[in-house]
């Protein structure tokens, strides 16, 4: 069980670090689409973070949050893509 505790702490650190790395692309990204991709990556990282945190806290109810975040991020990405494809040339 001690191995599992260390694994949980290490993986929480790694996932948090990768979320910070993708925030760099979210702030810097040369085009609007890069920011959308970075947002999608951050929300996917959040699902993994919640899955690891549910092991740390021992509450299995946290897994439900992952379903909702997956749904919302998919719909947001589709809406952004639709908006980017349909926007006018002078907008």
């Amino acid at each position: 069980m001690i191995f599992l505790e260390y694994a949980v702490y290490i993986s929480l650190f790694i996932i948090g670090a990768s979320m910070f790395l993708s925030v760099y692309r979210l702030l810097r990204g040369p085009d609007f689409e890069d920011r959308v991709v970075a947002l999608d990556l951050i929300s996917s990282c959040t699902i993994g973070f919640i899955a690891v945190y549910s092991i740390k806290s021992g509450l299995k109810i946290y897994i439900d949050v992952g379903i909702i975040i997956g749904l919302i991020s998919f719909i947001a990405t589709i809406a952004f893509a639709y908006f980017l494809e349909r926007r006018t040339n002078d907008g």
């Binding site: 996932i15 549910s54 092991i55 897994i63 494809e85």
Partner: protein, 136 residues
């Protein structure tokens, strides 16, 4: 004995998944082009999050958690390619810069409408893209 085995398997799964997530986020920063960035993020993150959820399902081990984890995995595997396809299509028609070492561009021969001109709302980024970068 059985608890130890389950804990070790769950820990290995979690570490593998978080390593995949780290690799994809490094790819998001280091890749030279939005299409290559999407090819890095979409595949590796789906794989890593699936490993994390499988680890959580191993740790709890009851039927409700396993079902929820499988539902999330199926949902991710079915929606991530659709979202990436939509974003890539929008990025192509929106006139995002393509990497100059790209060899195959099938959209150019199949779509006569062509790409939109690069927006002039972000002139500073255009100057940045004209500078020689170290991505090559």
């Amino acid at each position: 004995m059985m608890d130890e085995f389950i804990a070790v398997v769950a820990g290995i799964m979690i570490l593998l998944g978080s390593l995949f997530i780290l690799i994809s986020s490094i790819g998001l920063i280091r890749m030279p082009d939005i299409f290559l960035r999407m090819s890095a993020t979409t595949k590796a993150v789906t794989f890593g999050v699936s490993f994390n959820l499988i680890g959580a399902a191993f740790f709890f081990g009851d039927i409700g958690t396993i079902t929820k984890a499988v539902v999330i995995i199926i949902f991710l595997f079915s929606t991530a390619p659709v979202a990436a396809h939509m974003i890539g299509r929008a990025a192509y028609f929106d006139g995002v810069n393509i990497w100059d070492k790209t060899i195959v561009n099938e959209m150019e021969t199949n779509y006569k409408s062509g790409r939109r001109k690069k927006h002039n709302s972000n002139k500073t980024e255009q100057k940045e893209s004209e500078k020689p970068t170290n991505d090559k």
